[in-house]
């Protein structure tokens, strides 16, 4: 078991996540490009995009209400707050409790809800379509994510992510039981849905027939769009961090001090890289599903998660 994480460390970890979030997207894009035999943009391209957007002016829909203005800010704040709940360099509960896995999912849901509200505000059909589809997929993903969290929480007796990771300890696949495998399988099914990637969503296109999340961002521009993009990078790394905390081995307890923290950060980067590679592979080898096939796809995750839960309890 590792010790508690002081508040300073929690804030540091959150800042680290914000700084690294665009990089993960850049790495995935680069891997996709190489898998598709393209050169692709550099891994730092998302940072350049963000800097460009934050320096630009804003064009706002003339029908939009006062809410529209504040939505990117609120969405970014909620997503970054979710980032504070993910253990990064060290496992163990925070010294002062902030939130657990349910709070994390709640904050991500809040960001999604506000994004959908913003999409409806401009009064265009694309925004409405994106919001409608996103809010159709989300209620189907959330309960399954929750069930995966429950299936791990049942043995650990807590839903706090740092404590869950500490309970998982340094044990790796050899110590897994059937329920762990099934829960992990469910998580792998859900990952593309929660990060807005193929086969559920397509982050590279603004074609109205294929998009979910991007459709909701159409009317945002300049710094507002920058906030929304940073929020979606952040959402991705937070989701990956959730999977890492639930299923991957934690850094051992005796690695305190600066070297220990560096080691922890390196281990976290490795875990995220593994999951990012998975996402890039899936995106390059599958086509996007029709919207009404997505519930069936998510059904596979649901069955896995339910079986994992059943195995834990029975």
């Amino acid at each position: 078991m590792t010790g508690v994480r002081p508040l300073g460390l929690v804030l540091l970890e959150m800042a680290l996540l914000v700084l690294l979030a665009p990089l993960v997207t850049g790495v995935i894009q680069k891997m996709k490009a190489r898998l598709q035999c393209r050169q692709g943009a550099g891994v730092l391209q998302p940072y350049r995009d963000l800097i460009k957007l934050f320096r630009k002016g804003t064009v706002q829909a003339d029908t939009a209400s006062g809410f529209f203005w504040s939505i990117p800010v609120l969405v970014l704040a909620a997503t970054v707050a979710a980032g504070a709940l993910v253990p990064v360099v060290r496992a163990g509960p925070p010294a002062f409790p902030l939130g657990d896995a349910l709070m994390l999912l709640g904050l991500l849901a809040l960001a999604r809800f506000l994004t959908a509200i913003g999409a409806l505000d401009a009064g265009g059909a694309f925004g409405g379509m994106g919001a409608s589809r996103e809010m159709t997929i989300a209620p189907l993903v959330e309960p399954v994510l929750m069930m995966v969290v429950f299936s791990t929480a049942l043995t650990a007796g807590t839903t706090e992510l740092g404590a869950l990771a500490a309970h998982r300890g340094t044990s790796w696949i050899v110590a897994w039981r059937a329920a762990d495998f099934l829960g992990f399988a469910a998580m792998l099914v859900l990952l593309p849905a929660e990060t807005g990637r193929i086969p559920v969503d397509n982050p590279d296109t603004h074609l109205e027939l294929t998009m979910l999340h991007e459709g909701m961002l159409l009317e945002h521009s300049g710094p507002g769009l920058g906030c929304m993009l940073l929020a979606s990078h952040m959402r991705q790394i937070v989701t990956l961090g959730l999977v890492a905390a639930l299923f991957f081995p934690a850094v051992p307890a005796d690695s305190a001090g600066a070297t220990g923290l560096l080691f922890g950060a390196g281990a976290f980067a490795a875990k995220i890289l593994v999951l990012a590679t998975y996402l890039a592979l899936v995106e390059s080898s599958y086509a996007k599903l029709r919207l009404f096939r997505v519930p069936q796809y998510l059904g596979v995750g649901f069955v896995c998660a339910l079986t994992a839960l059943a195995l834990r309890i029975l």
């Binding site: 804003t58 939009a64 970054v80 849901a109 399954v144 839903t159």
Partner: protein
């Protein structure tokens, strides 16, 4: 004049209620306030008795009543300016009777007071339901309400009279003694009779069909009271019966009780939100959400019943489950009241309830829109509002229960946690739709275009409830102290604050682990402060770095000039979920096209779609058809001659006497 005086009276009553409830909830633990009432009947002594549970529900009633009393006069004046003084007086009188009956019902110390208040509550709310607009639909809604409510009252009467007959008196103390001698079959039968009666009032699926019709028909602040408070009175009844009146002297409750309540609650939560999703009438949508939230409360209640007096650490878990249910009771009262008042402001400014005809109100009614959004976030169980807190507690209780109860039963508990998660997600989808279509985009009709902000007193009423939502969301730890008395009074175990706020009022924590070592802890206060700081930083990131130019431009609609027709409608928004859950909705749609000669030139296109409520088609329509068929048969047999009927009456009397003779031989 009559309006102001009447609502002032309601406000005074609510203030008195608040005083009494705080006195009990914050006073000496275990105190019960008892007062005899004037002797009205020779055969029974009426009395009031306020213990922790009564005081808590009194608090819920009074909190919403304050908002209703502030909001009411301006609403009634603005909504129906040409209403006669007689109608206004009748409405205000009925409102006061309604509030009074609910208050005294929760404080009743004997069965007769309880039943009289129960009936008064039903009758006065019926008057309010049919008082608003005199059209056929309201009258039909009222009739259905009357029939269903009295069916429920009949069940309650049987349950109460069976107890009073055994106890020889009406007061609850005598009933408790009488219930102590019951055998387990009779006890369970009586519980299910009472549960049926209360569930009808609470609008539990499948007894909910009256609710989405009757609640929207009433004036909006009465809808807020009916949805936010009247349903809770039924929850009070269930708690009073299960844990107090009918509970065995020692040992756990019969397992069938808790499991029934848990399963029924889960079903209500999921079906309630699914049907709400497909409603386009704003108030009707909110009414369906009441079905959902009652379900969530019942999940907590059911779990508490299952775990109560179980061996081991079940006691703390039962307290946790009951705390979640009671906290959700006040939370739902706050945000549902707020949402109904918001819908009422829209209604009185536009005279429209159909979302498809609204739109663009956020620019015209910014206060109403902002407060409605706040309520929407709260009801969707999103942090940092109050809905999240009680659902978090429910999740923790379910998780703890699941790890303690092994086997298939434990799986049911955890599965209902998954269903609760589904409910939350669907509620968020529903309120993205409700808020987005009603308040955002362009106005779709002239009524919506010319809407103006609601009068200040109506906004004040909403602000009161919004402040409650924020306070209960950001600092729930301080409210736990109010939950000590009801949980201790019912469960005779540790109070709510001992279980949930063991680490101080800023932290909510649970000890649900099988070993009891690891606890999950969150801090809503800390998270709220954190969110505010992050919002400020994001604001600086967006605006502070560089003064970037901003300009307005029309929405992008592929080069066409944008009109109202580009706005996504509520029907379109909910369509994907309508298709995903088609098995429950049986959606039907009719599209008629009028073309000019060739099918490529459309002149007119007409769309009609509807979904069915499974409970209605599968149960109620069958009952209706059965009754019709039966009466047709009787009509064919009836001769119309008077001596034939007299013979029937004599025969019935003879059979009845025979039966009595056999039973009381």
């Amino acid at each position: 004049m009559a309006l102001s005086v009447g609502h002032l009276a309601a406000l005074a009553g609510a203030a008195a209620g608040l005083g009494v409830s705080f006195n009990i909830l914050l006073g000496t633990p275990g105190r019960t306030l008892t007062r005899p009432l004037p002797v009205l009947f020779p055969f029974a002594r009426l009395s009031l008795s306020v213990d922790g549970l009564s005081a808590y529900f009194l608090l819920v009633i009074s909190l919403v009543a304050v908002a209703g009393a502030i909001y009411g006069p301006a609403y009634l004046r603005a909504h129906s300016p040409d209403a006669g003084r007689a109608r206004q007086a009748a409405q205000v009188f009925a409102l006061n009777v309604f509030l009074g009956c609910m208050t005294f019902l929760c404080c009743a110390g004997d069965a007769l007071t309880f039943l009289l208040c129960w009936e008064g509550m039903t009758l006065s709310s019926y008057v309010l339901v049919v008082s608003d607009d005199r059209d056929g639909e309201n009258a039909r809604a009222g009739l259905l309400y009357m029939v269903m409510a009295h069916g429920g009252t009949a069940l309650l009467l049987v349950a109460f009279l069976a107890l009073t007959e055994r106890g020889g008196a009406f007061d609850f103390a005598a009933l408790r003694v009488a219930a102590g001698h019951l055998d387990s079959t009779t006890r369970t039968t009586l519980f299910f009779l009472a549960l049926g009666g209360f569930a009808t009032k609470a609008g539990v699926v499948p007894l909910h069909v009256w609710l989405p019709r009757a609640h929207p028909a009433a004036p909006s602040h009465v809808s807020a009271l009916m949805s936010g408070v009247m349903l809770k009175v039924a929850i009070y009844g269930i708690l009073r019966f299960a844990f107090d009146l009918l509970a065995p002297v020692a040992g756990p409750l019969p397992s069938s009780w808790g499991w029934t309540v848990l399963v029924v609650g889960t079903t209500s939560a999921v079906l309630g939100v699914l049907y709400a999703l497909q409603q386009h009438d704003l108030k009707r949508l909110l009414a369906f959400h009441s079905v959902e939230n009652i379900g969530i409360i019942l999940i907590g209640v059911g779990l508490a019943m299952i775990l109560w007096r179980q061996d081991g650490a079940g006691g703390a878990l039962a307290t946790l489950a009951l705390t979640a249910a009671l906290l959700h009771t006040v939370n739902h009262a706050a945000f549902k009241g707020l949402l109904f008042l918001g819908a009422g402001s829209v209604l009185c400014r536009t005279h429209l309830r159909n979302m498809e005809e609204l739109g663009g109100l956020a620019r015209r009614m910014p206060w109403t829109a902002g407060l409605f959004l706040l309520g929407a976030v709260a009801i969707s169980a999103l942090p940092p509002m109050n809905g999240f807190v009680s659902e978090w507690l429910t999740f923790q209780a379910l998780l703890g229960g699941g790890s303690r109860i092994h086997g298939p039963a434990g799986l049911v508990v955890v599965f209902s946690a998954a269903m609760l998660a589904l409910t939350g997600g669907l509620a968020a989808a529903c309120f993205a739709k409700a808020f987005g279509v009603t308040f955002l985009g362009r106005p779709r009709t002239a009524h919506a275009e010319h809407a103006t902000e609601a009068p200040p007193s109506m906004i004040a009423g909403m602000l009161w409830l919004a402040a409650l939502c924020v306070a209960l969301g950001v600092a729930p730890g301080y409210a736990m102290r109010l939950l000590d008395a009801p949980t201790a009074a019912l469960l005779h175990g540790p109070g709510a604050s001992a279980v949930v706020t063991a680490r101080g009022p800023l932290v909510l924590s649970t000890a649900t682990a099988p070993s009891g070592t690891d606890a999950t802890a969150i801090s809503m206060t800390m998270m709220a402060a954190f969110l505010i700081a992050l919002t400020a930083m994001a604001w600086i990131l967006r605006h502070g770095l560089r003064r970037s130019p901003a300009r307005a431009a029309p929405t992008w609609t592929c080069g066409m000039s944008p009109t109202t027709r580009f706005d996504y409608t509520a029907t379109a928004f909910a369509k994907p979920l309508r298709l995903v859950f088609a098995a429950l909705y049986h959606p039907r749609r009719e599209v008629t096209r009028e073309t000019a000669g060739t099918p490529y030139v459309l002149q007119r296109i007409q769309y009609a779609g509807e979904i069915v409520d499974l409970a209605e088609t599968q149960i109620y329509h069958r009952i209706e058809r059965g009754i019709s068929a039966l009466s047709q048969t009787i009509r064919a047999r009836s001769t119309g001659r008077i001596y034939g009927y007299i013979g029937l009456v004599l025969g019935a009397l003879f059979v009845a006497l025979l039966l009595i003779g056999v039973i009381y031989r």
